[in-house]
């Protein structure tokens, strides 16, 4: 026991003096979690609070164009910036760059006339179908298309939601005109404003409820998503210090001396596991604390810890142990510091990518979806989300813990084989 304690003390001292290693293990993941959460939160706020700037060139002189602009304004997603009419594509592109807008729209010159004609025609068809006299055109009226410009930087999901919002505004303008035409044809007087509002304004609310276990209500936000993900990343990033530490010890003269002493190298491996498991737990505590206390000061949503804290602790310990086992395994099989640094960093990025830390694994297709099962980060992330987002308990993450444990045991076995092959134990 004294040998183990002395080895842990040595490892702690070596670690404490490895400032670049500590920086990589703590400062880098902390910066990542702050930056990524901020960016994702800004994206969320771009849609919900900050509003997307949209340049609109209205070439229409009638009411429909104005109504369309007013409706787009009311959606709440856009900040409308009017620009002069008769904009060419090139002029619109220049204006978008000049005003730092990611969206631009041109309303065609005869928009109102065409919308009214189309509405009148639809109203006429409706009256005819009721058995009443009405004027209808033989040919359907097509409204000239609106042109929507967007910056290629705009991501696909956001662009699709922009398109959906504009389409719904357009639908409202067309429906209003059709309703007015229909009402005027029947009553020969304009549709009263109150009735129009009542008929067009959608009053049915949509209750959005995040699916959770046992009735727990946790609002998903950028913090709840990012803090667990980057905590896992941080834990696995200990490879940059620990993997290097194992290789450094192997290639340094101290290792030769260790092999001649009456103590099995298993003690050294065990000490590294205990020391760095402590590091991974500390990483989790630090990152969670930042989420809880620092994020609200930065106008970010604060982190809500799960109700089952013991389950969270078990998950952190098993994930940390898995990360440490992976680092030692890579260190044992690497021959040089360059190998462990290169392979370590790249493998962690790949494992985190296929594990769903960067893109949700449910959004992956084919091979990558199956590959996620081989990443311990995937099982860990799922378990963290079960606790942080779904209000799950220990029993809900038991399978994930079991899989992480099995992966850890496999890594330990590989390490044992590596040490045995090199005649170290």
């Amino acid at each position: 026991m004294f040998k183990l304690w002395a080895t842990i003390l040595k490892d702690l001292r070596v670690l404490w003096r490895d400032k670049p290693g500590i920086t990589l293990m703590f400062a880098m993941p902390i910066m990542l979690v702050i930056v990524v959460t901020n960016i994702q939160n800004s994206t969320f706020q771009l849609v919900s609070k900050n509003k997307l700037p949209i340049l609109i060139s209205n070439n229409d002189t009638g009411q429909a164009g104005k109504q369309l602009i007013s409706t787009i304004n009311k959606i709440g997603m856009f900040k409308v910036l009017p620009v002069a009419g008769n904009q060419s594509s090139k002029a619109m592109s220049v204006a978008m760059h000049a005003k730092d807008a990611m969206l631009g729209m041109i309303i065609p010159a005869n928009f109102s006339v065409k919308v009214q004609a189309k509405s009148k025609n639809i109203a006429g068809k409706a009256l005819k179908s009721f058995g009443l006299d009405a004027d209808t055109l033989k040919q359907a009226v097509d409204v000239d298309p609106l042109t929507l410009y967007y910056s290629p930087v705009l991501q696909e999901p956001l662009r699709l939601s922009v398109e959906g919002a504009v389409r719904s505004a357009l639908q409202l303008v067309e429906s209003r005109e059709t309703l007015r035409s229909l009402y005027f044809s029947i009553n020969e007087k304009p549709l009263p404003e109150t009735l129009e509002n009542e008929m067009l304004n959608n009053k049915t609310a949509i209750n959005e409820i995040p699916v959770s276990r046992e009735g727990a209500r946790i609002n998903p936000n950028a913090t709840q998503h990012n803090v667990p993900a980057w905590t896992i990343f941080a834990m696995f990033f200990v490879i940059m210090s620990l993997g290097g530490n194992v290789v450094r010890e192997k290639v340094s003269g101290s290792f030769v001396r260790l092999k001649t002493l009456p103590t099995n190298y298993v003690v050294a491996v065990l000490s590294k596991q205990i020391t760095y498991l402590g590091v991974t737990i500390l990483q989790a505590v630090v990152i969670f604390s930042i989420g809880i206390w620092l994020f609200p000061l930065m106008d970010l949503p604060g982190l809500s810890l799960p109700s089952d804290i013991p389950a969270l602790f078990v998950l952190v310990v098993i994930t940390g142990w898995c990360a440490v086992s992976y680092s030692i395994c890579v260190g044992v099989f690497s021959e040089t510091q360059e190998q462990v640094n290169g392979f370590g960093a790249i493998s962690i990025v790949i494992l985190s990518a296929i594990g769903g830390l960067m893109v949700p694994s449910f959004a992956m297709q084919g091979f990558f979806k199956s590959a996620a099962d081989f990443s311990p980060m995937h099982w860990s992330l799922q378990a963290f989300y079960t606790l942080f987002l779904e209000g799950g308990k220990l029993k809900d993450i038991f399978n994930n813990l079991l899989l992480l444990f099995i992966i850890t045991i496999l890594l330990q076995f590989l390490t044992f084989l590596g040490l045995k092959r090199k005649n170290l134990i």
Binding site: W5, T7, K10, R17, S252, G253, R257, T260, L261, P262
Partner: protein, 253 residues
């Protein structure tokens, strides 16, 4: 067969081959070193000195025959044999990030000493080797000579009965060399068997009483130094060395 308890090292019909090689690098080697001897092992680069020391310290395993230290077979299975010897490798074999005290605490524990003994031996050794003033400073800031002394202190912290020294004075100044040799002679006076290898042959002449010359994995001469010089009509170890191993360059690949 009766065990000769005057022997510190007993190597009998030992054969060794490197992994992947079908031929033995060392074949049928016999060597005895008596307790309390100051034994020097010399040879050109690639002759087999480091291999032989690695075999005697259990860093490599023999393929044929056996090596015994104080009657106990060397091997990774019997860790008790590792308590019998100390090893001072040519490379700095310690943690440069740690201080001398921290290194001695760690290696002392791994040598099987308890906390109290480690503290006592640490104070003793730092005093003897002139490292008291820098006891808590990180070793990586030390000069080459100071690092050599730390290397030696770690090798003897557990008072080994045999001390293997692989070029213990390489790259140090005259003062440090003098201090190290003086300390080694003192250890030997107190009963420690010294197994010494170096290319500093003039230094070796002052330290070693028994000498073996090794070349191509074979012991080509082994006897009392004075007797060897007399037998080969040479006036120094260096001339004896050149006489027996030739003057051609040796490329150790």
């Amino acid at each position: 067969m009766a065990i000769d308890d005057s022997l510190a090292i007993d190597i009998e019909n030992m054969g060794f081959r490197y992994a992947g090689n079908s031929d033995l690098f060392i074949s049928g080697l016999n060597l005895q070193v008596h307790k309390g001897e100051r034994f020097g092992l010399f040879g050109p680069n690639g002759a087999g000195k480091t291999t032989l020391i690695s075999l005697m310290t259990g860093l490599l395993s023999v393929n044929e025959g056996h090596i015994k230290l104080f009657g106990r077979e060397v091997g990774r299975q019997d860790t008790a044999v590792n308590k019998l010897f100390g090893f001072v490798p040519q490379d700095f074999s310690f943690y440069q990030e740690l201080s001398p005290v921290e290194n001695l605490e760690f290696f002392g524990a791994w040598s099987g000493l308890d906390k109290q003994t480690i503290k006592q031996r640490t104070d003793e050794l730092l005093h003897i080797l002139g490292l008291e003033e820098v006891r808590d400073k990180q070793v990586q800031k030390f000069s080459g000579g100071m690092k050599r002394r730390v290397n030696l202190a770690i090798g003897v912290i557990h008072k080994p009965q045999i001390l293997f020294l692989d070029e213990p004075t390489v790259g140090v100044d005259v003062q440090t060399r003098h201090a190290i040799i003086k300390y080694l002679l003192e250890l030997n006076k107190n009963g420690t068997t010294l197994i010494y290898t170096s290319h500093q042959l003039s230094e070796a002449e002052g330290l070693c009483e028994q000498v073996a010359l090794i070349d191509n994995g074979k012991i080509i001469a082994h006897n009392d130094l004075d007797k060897l010089l007399k037998d080969y009509h040479e006036d120094s170890l260096e001339h004896l060395f050149l006489n027996l191993t030739g003057k051609d360059y040796r490329n150790d690949v």
